[in-house]
Amino acid sequence: MDVLYLLIPISVLLVFAVMGVFWWALQAGQFDNIEREGERILRGD
């Protein structure tokens, strides 16, 4: 049970880490036009 003292704070840090990754993905424009991403493979350029 003692490991919970470590795991719970780690889970909090993990949440912040995941949010950081999402922020990066968002700013990199990965969510700007979700519909278009699927069509990209069909386009020549």
Binding site: I8, S11, V12, V15, V18, F22, W23, L26, D32
Partner: protein
Amino acid sequence: MNYPRGMNEAATAPPVGSLLADPHPDGQATQEDASASGSLGWLGDHRGPLTVTDNFAVLDDPVEQQEFTQFSEVDGRTTAESVLMVQGMYCAACADTVECALQDLPGVERAQVHAATRRLTLRWDPSQTTISSLARAVGRTGYRLLPMQQALSISERLHETRQALWRLFVAGFCAMQVMMYAWPAYITEPGEIPADIDQLLRWASWVLSLPVVFFASGPFFNSAWRDLKQGRVGMDTPVSIGILVTFLASSAATFDPSGIWGHEVWFDSLTMFVFFLLGGRYLELKARDRTAGALDSLMNRLPDVCERQIPAGSFVTVSIRRLVVGDVVRVQAGQAFPGDGDILSESATVDEALLTGESHPVTRAQGQGVVAGSFNLGGPVLVRIARLGRDTRFAQIVALMERASTEKPRLAVLADRIAAPFLVLVLLAAALAGFYWWQIDHTKALAVAVAVLIVTCPCALSLATPAAMLTSAGALARRGILVRRLQAFEALAGINAVVFDKTGTLTHDRLVLVDVRMREGVGREQALALAAALAAGSLHPVSRAIARSVPAEQAGETPFLTELAEVAGQGMQARRADGARVRLGSAAFCDARNTERSNDDSPRAFLADDQGWMATFELQEGLREDARDAVAALRAMGVRTWLLSGDRESAAMQVGRAVGVDHVIAGASPEQKLIEVAALQTQGMRLAMVGDGLNDGPVLARANTSFALGHAAPLAQAQSDYVIQGGEVMGVVLTLRQARSTLRIVRQNLLWAAVYNLVSVPLALAGWMPPWLAGLGMAGSSLLVIVNALRLASKATAGVPTITVGATSLV
């Protein structure tokens, strides 16, 4: 910013904060800044969702201004009307804040903000104020005014969508994790979890609630704070109070479990309802983009740059603002024309879906006109610019749409008026419910009060009408039908009679051949072929009708003619292969005065050779192809039809019978038309008038609602509520159908908003609704209203092959 004080300090020891926040670091303090913000104090620039430090000088640039401002002169005084976009708006209450900020300023005559489209119509006096000072005044309340072109640019919207998605993700992800921490407490008996682990879980929940409250809930707090400063209760006030109270009580319980707030924590409810509210808001934003998208796809058609020919003959790329009338530009395939102009190339294939709603290629020959905003589908085309900017038909359409979309329909005004006292009631109810439950059950009091605050949804009420009407207006615009006033939907939905104002609305302005009479021994084909060969050399309407009447397969048998010449005002003459002189034209020109005459004076042409009269061609104005179907469709919808014509009885009756209208009133002068319309109205008829929108202003205005057909009329002068640009009579039917569905959707929306609030508030008061469910309910409720309204977008285009999208994707 308090300027006088700030300046003094700057002279001695400038505090860092004041320098950073100074919108004019070079000391260009303007009069407006000093006077209007003096009372607001040092925090002036740190309020609202935006810190607006622009000085908006660009808005005063006359070149920029012509994009969004129209000047008009009344009684020797110039007033300007500008349409701007308001950045930083979240809900209907923001509209009032911006209006209040502007209304009392000197030089402002009228300021009206439309909540759903975030557009501001501003009427102001250029001699008393500048638009930049007005923009600064709005900036101080935390909103930014942007000119339309700029406001619609991709980057602005991209940033807004990204920010919304980011907030949504933070709230959602934290809510999930907090739920996990809360889960053990739900499934165990009290005391089963060791006290220190329980405390650790609470701290973890508290840490993850921080970004939800202090970042993700930002939009709610901002708008509530703004309302508070105005001394009003806004849509977000109850929500903000709910969030804050829950957070503070839970925090207190976390750090001081023995305190007055008890030991209950609500972090899971808190994060979840914030997530649901933001989720609803995000979807609303998306939906609104789609609604506005119909308008925007119209407005964003003009290219930013174009290729202008320089005297040396080569082309340079310039901004379209630099173009002047008379310039020659080259438009590549797939590009839009930058202005109205005449084609210099051989021919061009263009897509004028903008005007007609039909996206099919139209061929234009050298010298013919093209309109700004239509697309070049063929190869590169050279165009000499005839009209630019405000003067183009495109700009007129955009201006008209702008004005319509900033208007608040009567039902919306009514809803807004109800929403304000309703919110005050909600606050009181929440306080009372909290107090009442406190007596019964300490632990439940907070949850009940918060649920009441969150669950009420006046947003659904105030969005119900404008969302539906705007969607319809956008959908109709894509079909080439422009709506000048949103209010007109209500009038149109209630009509039971359509009056066609003149024969011309049911007929083409071009003539068709109806009858041919020949001299004995002359064949019909022979006469027609000869006449058509003569007519081919002329552009006179009668000649063109005769030329058109010969089927294409007979064109090969055209008689050989020489010395073809046009005698002005008389007709055409030529020499046949056998040497005989042939003529086509008026009776005098063809020596046909003695031939038989019918008593009506419809247009006719005569054909003669050396032996005199050969044939007579009777012509008539052609019926519009869809007039008959449209009238039949109107009858099927329970609408009676009238033809109110100034023409002679016989001509009007003939058209009326051919089209199938119920009643014909012929020979009416404009004054008589007014009397007839008024008489019909006293008989209980609610009339929609269909005219050309030009000469019949008073009659159109007298009717309950009105249509203008065709694009002959300059839009700015057209008096009607609707303009059918393609000129199809069927457009009337389409619009009527759309108006009826619109009103049905509006009624559904209003009913839903009322029922939802009536049911949910008592449930919350009774303590049967946990706060997270309240959040879901409110988000779902306003979303339902928007989605219901969006159904109208598909209705107008259902079954009609419109490929506007295909045309725009060419760019």
